[in-house]
Structures are given as structure tokens and as C-alpha cells.
């Protein structure tokens, strides 16, 4: 599903050049659950952003479902993204001005789903995440664990083939964290490919494979059994 080769991303400021990704190559097959680990600043988030088509690499090749997307423009990336990829962030990133229902509904609006279908689909997902009773609350009225469940609901509402999660449990206590990990595992078992960045060895154990990074490169891969 994902095949990147010699991907490079360099951040240039006035004085310094930071090589965030240094000719990295990774493959992810459909249905896999991959964890990415590494010390702070090694380029995990940068990689995830590129995989999620939020950012473009400087050089290298990126095949997404066998389509070369490394040189897609913003509009094309948005098009591909909204139909195929869901995101879960460490800091939830829910829109404070929207209710739980509306936050989850958002991706459907941008993919042009009809209003009745949207309602059905959102309710289904909220039900599955067990936050239906909070549908009309605003994010600030929810606990961290609840907010992340909403974020996961939002990530899956479009039935994406790929979910990218950047430290999804980073802001949660262990019980809420485990709950989210269970949700992701369930999704993976139903066929969704998941790529997750994490600092927690505990969470990484939920995955099939751990990619360890250092200074913008992969240094080790652990296959889980």
C-alpha cells in the first residue's frame, strides 16, 4: 500500500539546515499495524505528515496504492487524503466551536456525503465508540479519553483504508490509553491499515511491526509475534 524510497525532507531556516528525513525507505502492506518509535526530533512526525499527504518530501519517491504522489499539488493531495486517510493526534485537535457530532461529521461534509447519509454514518460510528450520549457536547466538556475517542471516531467515519496516529495516547492516562489502543486494534482487525507513532513500548506491542528511527533514518525493524 505504501512504498517510499530514499525520501528526503530538509528544513531550512536562516542559519541551520535540519535534515528531518535522510533517504528513508519504508514499505507498509495493506492491513498492517505499524508502530514507529525513536527519540525526540528523529523525524517521526515529519514522516507521518508526509505519509498522510499533509506535507511533501523534497526528494524521493512515494507510491501510495501504486500511484506516485511525491509531486502531487495541494489540491490533489487533499482529494486523495480525504477519501483514504484518517488522522488521530496527540492533542486530539477537535474544533472547539463544533459539537461532538459536528466534529465527526466534518470529513463527510468535505467528501460530499448527503446530509441523511451523514447522520446515519456519524451515529453508527459514535455508537461504536460509545460516546453517542455526548453527541451534542462541545469538546471542552469532555475528558481527554472521551475527546480522543471522538477523534478516533472522526478518523474512521469515512472508512479510510489508512489511519495515521501521532502519539494517540501521549496525553492520556494508562486506562484511557489502553482503551484507545483497543479501538485501534479493533479497527485493524477489520482491515484498516494503521501507522502509529509512539514513545511507549507498551503501546507499540499492540502493533505487528516496530520501525525504529534515528536521525531521519530507519535503524531497526522488530517483527512482533
Amino acid at each position: 500500500m505504501i512504498k517510499i524510497r530514499d525520501l528526503e525532507k530538509i528544513y531550512r531556516t536562516e542559519e541551520v539546515e535540519t535534515v528531518a528525513l535522510n533517504k528513508i525507505s519504508i514499505d507498509v502492506k495493506e492491513g498492517e499495524f505499524v508502530a514507529i518509535m525513536g527519540p525526540s526530533g528523529c523525524g517521526k512526525s515529519t514522516l507521518l505528515n508526509i505519509l498522510g499527504l499533509l506535507d511533501d518530501p523534497d526528494t524521493g519517491s512515494f507510491l501510495f496504492n501504486n500511484i506516485e504522489v511525491a509531486n502531487f499539488n495541494e489540491r490533489k493531495r487533499a482529494e486523495l487524503r480525504k477519501h483514504n486517510i484518517g488522522f488521530v493526534f496527540q492533542s486530539f485537535n477537535l474544533i472547539d466551536e463544533l459539537t461532538v457530532f459536528e466534529n465527526v461529521e466534518l470529513p463527510l461534509i468535505y467528501t460530499g456525503v448527503k446530509s441523511v447519509d451523514r447522520k446515519k454514518r456519524v451515529e453508527e460510528v459514535l455508537d461504536k465508540m460509545q460516546i453517542m450520549h455526548r453527541r451534542n457536547h462541545y469538546p471542552q466538556q469532555l475528558s481527554g479519553g472521551q475527546q480522543q475517542r471522538v477523534a478516533v471516531a472522526r478518523a474512521v467515519v469515512n472508512n479510510p483504508k489508512l489511519i495515521l496516529a501521532d502519539e494517540p495516547t501521549g496525553n492520556l492516562d494508562s486506562s484511557n490509553g489502553n482503551e484507545v489502543m483497543t479501538l485501534l486494534t479493533d479497527l485493524n482487525e477489520q482491515g484498516t491499515t494503521i501507522i502509529m507513532v509512539t514513545h511507549s513500548e507498551h503501546d507499540a506491542r499492540y502493533s505487528h511491526r516496530i520501525i525504529r528511527m534515528l536521525d531521519g533514518q530507519t535503524v531497526l525493524e522488530n517483527i512482533m509475534v
Binding site: 495541494e74 487533499a78 468535505y110
Partner: protein, 813 residues
């Protein structure tokens, strides 16, 4: 999708109550101002369009052009022109003359002074003034017929059911009965032709003036004439045919002119002025400044520009506040992009927010405009009302305006906000401080406009005060000027003088054939000194004591003397200007010289006195040559009474009582001369009021924006302020930190605004022969005022932010 945008827009607006309030208040004030001026402009440009045959109606005008002269025309045309045109040109379907006269009228026993219009019987065949009683074909059929307007019928009779009733009207010397034949609907405000009472022109045929002028192609007696051309006629642009027509009738006059020119020097021949008859489209009358009485469309564009400036300031508020708030929206934008929103969709979302706001503002703005309309009407001197049926163009103009405002205000924020990189905003990398170079420039622009308007207001006010207080060369205070045009003044004047002169409080009494001040006519005949003809000498036939009673001073010679018989025949007093420009000599040499009238065989006049120049016109004019005489046959049009200074009420009562005893059948009409002079500056006063209001509103709007920006700056810098306070900054230091930026901007605005404001106002002042110099402190004052208002506004926010507990502000992160 659209419903989603609308819902989010509403929620966003509702959540940011203060900002939304500022935006709606500002925009609606801007839109209210603009729509009022728009209404005014639409009304001005709609003049006379309501006549169904408007495109075929033309006014006959006299047109001059030639070297050394701006081309221009006059609607005053000699009496025989219109009937001759009807006779000579088959293209002319109808031709009518109209003229306005003042008269005394009597209904039952009530006598009043009114104006009456006389028109040829075809009046209603040309113009579409609807009648509510009577029939257009017969309304003016008979010389004794009279058409009254609904308004006039109601004031005179209390009903519009007045056909057949009689009104006594005194045109020359005796009252004559007129029978009301029809009642016309009130004349629309956007009609340049208007009447209250309309009589048949034939009725004037027997008056001395019309008789004299009826075959005279050189004499004008205040007649306007209109023709209705046939559909296919091209007469209006056929200057050749019109010239031939003029030549046929006015041959001898042209001959006259040629001879006159032979006697003149070369210089004058070069400046030969061609005059001719032209046809001016009816719809052109109100807005063509080249023809006397036409308004200058330039003024309307100036007004629209001012209104647009006010609106722009309000739009800028929206833009800067939206940008200022972007920090708070960055996350929303990032998330939306991650969720698959394209930039285009975000632009649409932000624009729909600003459109929603502009629609709300337009609605409140229109309501505000309706509330302010009476005030505005007073200012504009018009009777305007919002009517989409009368001005259908208003509908799309206002609709377009609303769209434009939304676009203007919302497009920059939409472009900026939608361009945020989602990765960066979600990482809180982008510093969206709310004040980039662009928004700073916008705030500066707001203050440039406001300060410019304030400077203009101060300069206009200064010039008005200067003109009011200028010693114009005679004593205009405490002089009552009584209108004696409608009475047998020759007989009344001495009697009236006798009746009042011995009373205490009456200082002096005199009379003249001309009035003084705004709205008074001027009489000028050509004068000839040796060979040269000089036109533009203004004459004041008056009583012996005219000059001394009004406080005009002599620089040489003597006043008129009743004891010297020749003073009423051949003596004149002239002003210094006449000595210098007409005679080309010094005051010392001018005494005893004679001058001749250019036409007629009047005896030469000897100069017995020279008066010091005084301003008898408004101060845009230099003093012109002036000549005073004491005709043996003085027919006063005005009696001047100088009162003792102090409360005039008792003295006025005395004057009025004496008048009523003497002339019971005519009203006592008077003015104070100084007030008549003040009237000269009505238009300046109007401009100062407009500029003052616009300046006040602009500064208010600009400060409204500042208020919002300062609030946002405080919010965006909450953390910084908290840290600074923890480090030991005082409230004043923090408040200063927040205000410093804005004060800098206003100072820059003052520097930018001053040169163009100086340039424009200096230009404006050039039209005044007597004017002030613009002093530097005007700019200082305007700047100081703006700064004061702005600092007050900002301080409220800055102090609030500075006083907040730093622990609270640090916890928000």
C-alpha cells in the same frame, strides 16, 4: 455544504459577541452613510426623468463661447424666441415659455406673498405633471385659469376639492380674479421645473415688461422656454439651423455688434465672443454646471468619495479584526484541512462568514439610514425618501454594495487564513500575532482618512469664521431691510420714514433700488469712458443718505446732497475699484471726471465722491466696480432701517405696526442685512457639516477597530503579559507596551495625511478672493485629537489586560 457554512458562520459570530458587535456596528454605520449619499446621488441624477417625453424635451438656452471665455449658457431667453421656433421649425411639436413671479394673493380676506408661475397653454402637453382634479387639455386654456398643487390647495382651502374657486392675484398694480381649473399632484423633489400656482402666460401679455420685450431679441425678462421635438428630429444638434434661425430674427443685433467691434482695439477683437441659441436636453439641466443654475456633478462625486472613505474604514475594521482573530482560528483551519478541506472551500467558508455579516449590517444600516434620513435631508436641502419603486436602481446598487462590502472586507482574511499550512498551525508554529505589515497599513490608512477629514473640517470652519468676522467695509450689523417691491414704494417710503424716524432706537433710514446680501439681484449696465465700453459695473441707485446710513466710507469727495439739484441728474459716487479699472486713474484725479452709459442717450455723469471698496458679494469675489446714484425718480425696492444695537424685538414690532398702518394689504417682509450676508456661506457651512460628520464618524469607526484590535492583541499576548508581570512589569509598563504600536501608527498616519490634506484644502481656498492661510497647528490639532481618542480607546483594553492576574493568564496555555 452551504448550510454547514451558514451554521458555522452564525455560531462564530455569536461566539465572538464583542467583535461581531464591533463589525456590525461599524459596517452598518458605513453602509448607512453610503446609502444616504447614494440616495442623494441617485436622486440628483434622476432629475426630470419622470416626464414621459423627457428625452424629447429641450430647454432653449443662450450659449456663449469664444476665446478667453469658458463656454457657458443661460436658460434665460428673450420673449419672442419660443413662439418663433414653433412657427419656423416643423420639428417643434410644442413650445412653451414659463416665468416665475412674486405676487400678492388674496383668498377671502387673507393676503399673502407667494410665487406664481406663468406658462403657455401647451405646458401640460410637454411636461407630465399629473393632475388630480381637472383636465390637462383645458387646464390652462383660458387666461384666467389657474392650476394649484395639492399642497397649495390644502394650505389655502384645506381641501383639494377647489376647482372653480377664485384667488385674487396682484401682478402689477391691481388684483385680478383667477379661477382654479385644475389641481396638480405635488411636484416631485427631483423636478427642476416646479410651481405652486400656475397661470396662463397670456395673462402677462398686457404687463409693461412683456409688451416691451415681446419683439425684442436682446432683452431677457426671466423667461425659461422649452420645446418638445418630434421623435425623429435632430434639431437639437443642428447648430447651423439654429444659427440661421437666430440670424433671421436678430440680424440687426449682430450688425450692431460688428460696428461696436470696429471701434475697439485689436485685443478685444481676439476675444470676440460668439453667442447663439442652443437646445439643452431637459435631463441635462440639473447637472450641467456650464449652464447657469446647473449643479456641479463634481460635488456629488466628492460626497460619494467621502462616503466611500467612511465605508472603507468600516470594511478595514472587519479585515483587521478577522486577521487579528486568526490566532484563535488557526487550529480550526488546520483540522479542516487535515479532514480534507481544500483551500477553495475554506475561502468560500470565510467569505460566507463575511457575506453573512455584510447582509446583517446592510439590514441594520438601512434601518439606520431611514432613521437618519430627516437629519440628512436637512443637511442636503432635499426631500428624499427610500423608494425602490421610484429608484429601481437603488435595489441593485444596494445589493451590489452589500456584496462588495462582503468581498472587500472578507477577501484578504479569507486568503490569508486559508493559506495556513495545517502541519505548522497544528504544531503552533505559525506566529499569527494579528498584526502584520498589511493590517498595520490598513489601520494607518483608516487614520489617514479620518485625520484628513478632520483637517478639512477645521480649515473650512476657519474660513467660514474668517469670512463672517471679516470687516467687509460697511456696517452690516443691526440693519433691517424691508421689501417694498410689491407696494407703491415711491409714495410709501417718505411716509414710512416720517412715521418711524423720531422713535427711539431707530438710528437711520434709507432706501435703495437694490438689496444687499445673498439672493439679492444686481443691476449692471455697460458704461463707457471715452471709447471703451466696460460691462460689469454694479449700480446702486439709492437715497441721498444711502452710503452714510449703511456706514460706507468716502475716500474723496462728498456724499449726495438734497440741497444740490444736479445731484439727482448727473452726479455719481463710484468706488475705488471703478476708478482703478474703468478709469485707469488715481482717486485724486478721478473726482470731477465724467463717465457715460454705453447705451441710450443719458447725460454724462460727474463723479462727486469716491467710496472705499466694500464687499457686497461673497468673499469668493474680488470687489467689482460699483457706482451709486440718487435718481430723481427713485423707486425703492428696499427700505433700510438701522436700529440701535440690542434686543431688536420691540423695534421690529414698531416697524411692523407702522407698516401695517400704512400698507394694510401687503405683508411686512424684512431681513437683517448681516443675516443675508451670512447666507452667502450656506454651502460652506454645509460642507463643513458634512466633513465634520464624516470626520467624526470615521474617527469613531477607526477607534472601534482599534478597540477590537487592542482587545485581540491583549488576548494574543496573554502569555507574554503574564510572563512579563511575573518578571515584575508594572501595569503602566504593560499598558504602554500594548499602546505603543498603535500610537506609532497614528503618528505615521498624521504625517501621511497632512500633505494631501494641505494640498486639497489649499486648492479649495484658492476659490476665495479673501482667504485664510493654513497654519501648522491645524495639523497638530487634528493629530492630537485623533491620538487622544485612540489612546483612550486602547488604554481601556491595555489596562484591563495589564491588571489581570498573571497566574490566570499563564494557565490558559
Amino acid at each position: 455544504m452551504f448550510k454547514h457554512y451558514l451554521k458555522i458562520s452564525f455560531r462564530n459570530l455569536a461566539q465572538q459577541k464583542v467583535l461581531t458587535g464591533i463589525n456590525i456596528l461599524g459596517l452598518s454605520i458605513g453602509i448607512a452613510c453610503f446609502s444616504l449619499f447614494l440616495l442623494y446621488a441617485v436622486n440628483e441624477f434622476s432629475y426630470d426623468r419622470f416626464h414621459t417625453k423627457a428625452d424629447r424635451i429641450y430647454r432653449i438656452i443662450e450659449w456663449w463661447e469664444g476665446e478667453g471665455r469658458e463656454p457657458g449658457g443661460s436658460g434665460s431667453i428673450s420673449t419672442p424666441v419660443a413662439p418663433a421656433m414653433k412657427k419656423d421649425f416643423p420639428d417643434v411639436e410644442y413650445a412653451v415659455r414659463t416665468t416665475d413671479r412674486g405676487c400678492l394673493a388674496r383668498v377671502n380676506d387673507h393676503v399673502f406673498h407667494t410665487s406664481i408661475t406663468f406658462a403657455d397653454a401647451d405646458f401640460f402637453n410637454i411636461f407630465s405633471f399629473p393632475l388630480i382634479r381637472g383636465d390637462v387639455h383645458t387646464a390652462l386654456k383660458d387666461p384666467g385659469h389657474l392650476v394649484v398643487t395639492r399642497e397649495k390647495a390644502l394650505t389655502l382651502f384645506g381641501t383639494t376639492d377647489v376647482v372653480g374657486k377664485t384667488i385674487q392675484i396682484k401682478i402689477d398694480t391691481a388684483y385680478k380674479p383667477f379661477t382654479i381649473s385644475a389641481v396638480a399632484e405635488n411636484i416631485p423633489a427631483n423636478s427642476s421645473k416646479s410651481f405652486q400656482l400656475l397661470g396662463n402666460f397670456e395673462h402677462l401679455a398686457n404687463t409693461e415688461m412683456v409688451k416691451q420685450s415681446s419683439n425684442n431679441w436682446h432683452m431677457t425678462i426671466g423667461i425659461d422656454a422649452f420645446v418638445l421635438l418630434k421623435q425623429e428630429s435632430r434639431l437639437a444638434t443642428d447648430h447651423k439651423r439654429l444659427a440661421l434661425f437666430r440670424k433671421k430674427y436678430a440680424e440687426e443685433e449682430i450688425q450692431d455688434r460688428k460696428e461696436l467691434k470696429k471701434g475697439k482695439g485689436k485685443k478685444d477683437q481676439q476675444q470676440a465672443v460668439q453667442s447663439g441659441i442652443r437646445l439643452q436636453p431637459l435631463r441635462d439641466i440639473h447637472m450641467n454646471p456650464q449652464v447657469e443654475g446647473g449643479a456641479d456633478p463634481k460635488n456629488i462625486w466628492i460626497l460619494i468619495t467621502i462616503a466611500a472613505a467612511v465605508l472603507l474604514i468600516a470594511c478595514i475594521n472587519f479585515t483587521t479584526l478577522a486577521i487579528g482573530r486568526s490566532a484563535g482560528r488557526a487550529k480550526e483551519i488546520g483540522v479542516r484541512k487535515v479532514m480534507g478541506s481544500e483551500r477553495k472551500q475554506l475561502i468560500v467558508q470565510f467569505l460566507s462568514e463575511s457575506f453573512l455579516l455584510s447582509v446583517l449590517s446592510a439590514v441594520t444600516g438601512l434601518i439606520l439610514a431611514c432613521v437618519l434620513l430627516p437629519l440628512f435631508n436637512q443637511l442636503a436641502g432635499r426631500q428624499l425618501y427610500f423608494s425602490f419603486s421610484r429608484f429601481p436602481e437603488l435595489m441593485w446598487l444596494l445589493g451590489g454594495l452589500t456584496l462588495l462590502v462582503g468581498l472587500l472586507a472578507g477577501s484578504y482574511p479569507a486568503l490569508v487564513l486559508s493559506s495556513f499550512n495545517p502541519v505548522e498551525v497544528l504544531k503552533r508554529k505559525i506566529r499569527v500575532g494579528g498584526s502584520n505589515l498589511f493590517t498595520r497599513s490598513l489601520v494607518t490608512l483608516q487614520f489617514v482618512l479620518s485625520i484628513g477629514l478632520i483637517i478639512s473640517t477645521i480649515v473650512i470652519l476657519q474660513q467660514i469664521a474668517f469670512m463672517r468676522s471679516k470687516n467687509i467695509g460697511f456696517n452690516k450689523e443691526n440693519v433691517v431691510m424691508i421689501n417694498t417691491q410689491r407696494v407703491d414704494a415711491k409714495r410709501i417710503y417718505p411716509l414710512y420714514k416720517q412715521a418711524i424716524q423720531s422713535n427711539t432706537g431707530i438710528m437711520d433710514i434709507t432706501a435703495g433700488e437694490m438689496g444687499l446680501g445673498s439672493g439679492e439681484g444686481q443691476m449692471g449696465r455697460g458704461y463707457r469712458n471715452y471709447k471703451e465700453e466696460i460691462s460689469g459695473v454694479i449700480e446702486y441707485p439709492g437715497d441721498y443718505n444711502f452710503l452714510n446710513a449703511l456706514g460706507m466710507q468716502l475716500v474723496a469727495g462728498r456724499y449726495f446732497d438734497p440741497a444740490i439739484a444736479s445731484d439727482t441728474m448727473s452726479a455719481v459716487i463710484v468706488n475705488e475699484e471703478l476708478v482703478h479699472t474703468v478709469l485707469g486713474t488715481t482717486t485724486a484725479n478721478a473726482l470731477g471726471k465724467t463717465i457715460n452709459t454705453a447705451k441710450g442717450n443719458n447725460p454724462p455723469k460727474t463723479i462727486i465722491g469716491i467710496s472705499r471698496n466694500f464687499n457686497f458679494e461673497d468673499l469668493t469675489h474680488q470687489v467689482r466696480p460699483q457706482l451709486f446714484s440718487r435718481p430723481a425718480n427713485l423707486e425703492p425696492a428696499r427700505i433700510y432701517v438701522r436700529l440701535q444695537a440690542g434686543d431688536p424685538a420691540a423695534k421690529l414690532a414698531l416697524l411692523s405696526n407702522a407698516w401695517k398702518k400704512l400698507v394694510p394689504d401687503a405683508p411686512f417682509e424684512y431681513n437683517f442685512v448681516d443675516e443675508k450676508f451670512d447666507l452667502f456661506y450656506k454651502s460652506e457651512e454645509r460642507w463643513s457639516t458634512i466633513a465634520g460628520w464624516a470626520g467624526g464618524i470615521s474617527i469613531f469607526l477607526a477607534c472601534l477597530g482599534l478597540f477590537g484590535l487592542a482587545a485581540l492583541a491583549a488576548v494574543n499576548r496573554t502569555k507574554e503579559i503574564g510572563i512579563r508581570k511575573v518578571m515584575g512589569a508594572t501595569v503602566t509598563q504593560v499598558a504602554g507596551l500594548l499602546s505603543k504600536d498603535f500610537i506609532k501608527l497614528i503618528t505615521i498616519a498624521l504625517v501621511i495625511a497632512s500633505p494631501p490634506a494641505w494640498y486639497f484644502m489649499n486648492n479649495w481656498l484658492q476659490s476665495y478672493a479673501w482667504r485664510i492661510n493654513i497654519t501648522w497647528w491645524v495639523f497638530g490639532l487634528a493629530g492630537l485629537f485623533s491620538l487622544l481618542v485612540a489612546v483612550t480607546t486602547i488604554s481601556i483594553q491595555a489596562i484591563k489586560a495589564a491588571m489581570a492576574n498573571p497566574v490566570n493568564s499563564l494557565r490558559t496555555e
